[in-house]
């Protein structure tokens, strides 16, 4: 044990951290130093055992779920705290509540037991969850409806209505294509405070309909038909927020 390089440069060499000149120097040194050759071989074996032993442990699903749920809770807690208590706000909240009550009246649980809606709602909630995974949310990321709308041209056999409601508190975030139960659909992404709302859109021959609502896995959905388009809004925002967005989308 005399060569000091076995305990220094050799490690930079196997880690690929030496610059070209130092690596070349070390390679020249290897020709005359049996000790370093042996040590290099031993270190390479050690590295290979470490890498083949599958020692990297993935996060358990329970941790992933807890973290996602916690982040959601934090967000909601924050939302409550940043509400601006200006008087007009109370009017807005009161109006929203009124709207929610009137919608709620029509949306009693018994009214949305329709199998067709439920199946689509499940598929749409699944798609919503998928969209929240990293990199899945938007194909076109823009808050400008004039960028998002043309983006859909040529990708779909219909033109989804694209509007930004930033002034109303629902800024457009972007859009993407998605597949729901085998059908290619347009998705508009809106933000509501710190939450995201996916609005799924596809054409339907059915007449206009009043909204139906429901919830699944803790997410709320609202479904309606308007001007030949079937629309599902899905989010973890309150049903009142969804109802408000529905109102803007059908104005």
């Amino acid at each position: 044990m005399s060569c000091e390089l076995t305990q220094s440069v050799l490690h930079g060499y196997i880690d690929g951290e030496l610059d070209a000149a130092r690596a070349a120097d070390f390679e020249r040194h290897l020709i005359s130093c049996a000790e370093c050759v042996t040590a290099l071989e031993a270190q390479e074996n050690l590295r290979s055992s470490l890498q083949h032993a599958a020692l990297h442990e993935r996060a358990p699903a329970s941790l992933r779920q807890t973290v996602q749920a916690e982040l959601g809770t934090r967000t909601r807690a924050n939302v409550v705290s940043i509400r601006n208590p200006a008087p007009w706000r109370f009017l807005a909240i009161a109006a929203t509540l009124l709207l929610a009550v009137s919608l709620g009246w029509r949306l009693l649980p018994g009214l949305h037991g329709n199998g067709r809606q439920t199946e689509w709602a499940s598929a749409v909630v699944d798609a919503h969850l998928r969209s929240l995974q990293p990199g899945h949310l938007e194909d076109v990321q823009s808050t400008d409806q004039h960028t998002v709308k043309p983006w859909f041209d040529g990708k779909l056999d219909f033109a989804p209505p694209v509007h930004d409601f930033v002034a109303e508190g629902f800024p457009l975030q972007g859009g993407r294509l998605d597949v729901v139960r085998g059908r290619t659909v347009a998705v508009l992404v809106y933000a509501r405070r710190k939450h995201l709302i996916n609005v799924f859109v596809w054409p339907t021959p059915q007449p206009d309909s009043a909204p139906l609502s429901g919830s699944e896995l803790g997410y709320h959905w609202l479904e309606w038909r308007r001007s030949g388009m079937e629309m599902y809004a899905v989010s973890d925002v309150s049903p009142e927020d969804l109802a408000q967005l529905h109102q803007f989308l059908t104005q």
Partner: protein
């Protein structure tokens, strides 16, 4: 809401939250893995990784781009050290070869399975002092560069190479101990 309460809450706007989900959340596996090896147990690692993610969320506005994984792992590493100080400070002071600290869940029978490479390596890594263990985990399991290791562990970049050299040398020493000796030391602790 009073201003005092507002001051304590960090509010991320939707873009920031989205950025967090896109940049930081994908490194949850790396965060858990580092915590698992620093704390030598999955249950504690789950708690500490969770706490680290929340701290990362809270500090996210202080993240100005760059290497999100290194940024997160630095938080995980600090959270692990705080946890060790509080719950198992002996881990932070133990020097090499004084004692081997097996996980309580590892039985001598498990250790006795000859040729179980994964078990043997796990035991050997866990017997290393935490400061050697962390550089090895970051280098060999996470594939971090020296620069990233320096950023995560706050050791000067010039000493990363020698820290790795010492860690590998010690790991090799442990691995070349006769299996019976490892087993005996483990048995004594159990």
């Amino acid at each position: 809401m009073s201003a005092g309460v507002e001051g304590k809450l960090d509010v991320l706007d939707p873009q920031d939250q989205l950025r967090f989900e896109q940049l930081v959340l994908p490194h949850l596996d790396a965060a858990f893995n580092l915590a698992r090896w620093l704390l030598r147990g999955r249950a504690d690692a789950e708690d500490v990784a969770q706490e680290s993610m929340l701290r990362a969320f809270r500090f996210f506005r202080g993240f100005h781009g760059g290497d999100a994984r290194a940024w997160l792992l630095q938080i995980v590493r600090n959270t692990c050290y705080t946890w060790l100080e509080k719950n198992r400070s002996v881990d932070l002071t133990t020097e090499f070869n004084e004692e081997l600290h097996p996980q309580p869940s590892v039985s001598p029978e498990t250790l006795a399975i000859a040729g179980d490479n994964r078990e043997r390596l796990t035991r050997a890594l866990e017997a290393l002092p935490v400061r050697f263990r962390e550089v090895l985990i970051l280098r060999e399991l996470e594939g971090c560069s020296y620069k990233e290791i320096a950023a995560i562990t706050s050791i000067p970049i010039g000493t990363v190479m020698s820290a790795l050299a010492r860690a590998r040398q010690r790991l090799q020493q442990i691995l070349t101990q006769p299996a019976t000796q490892l087993k005996q030391e483990a048995g004594r602790e159990l």
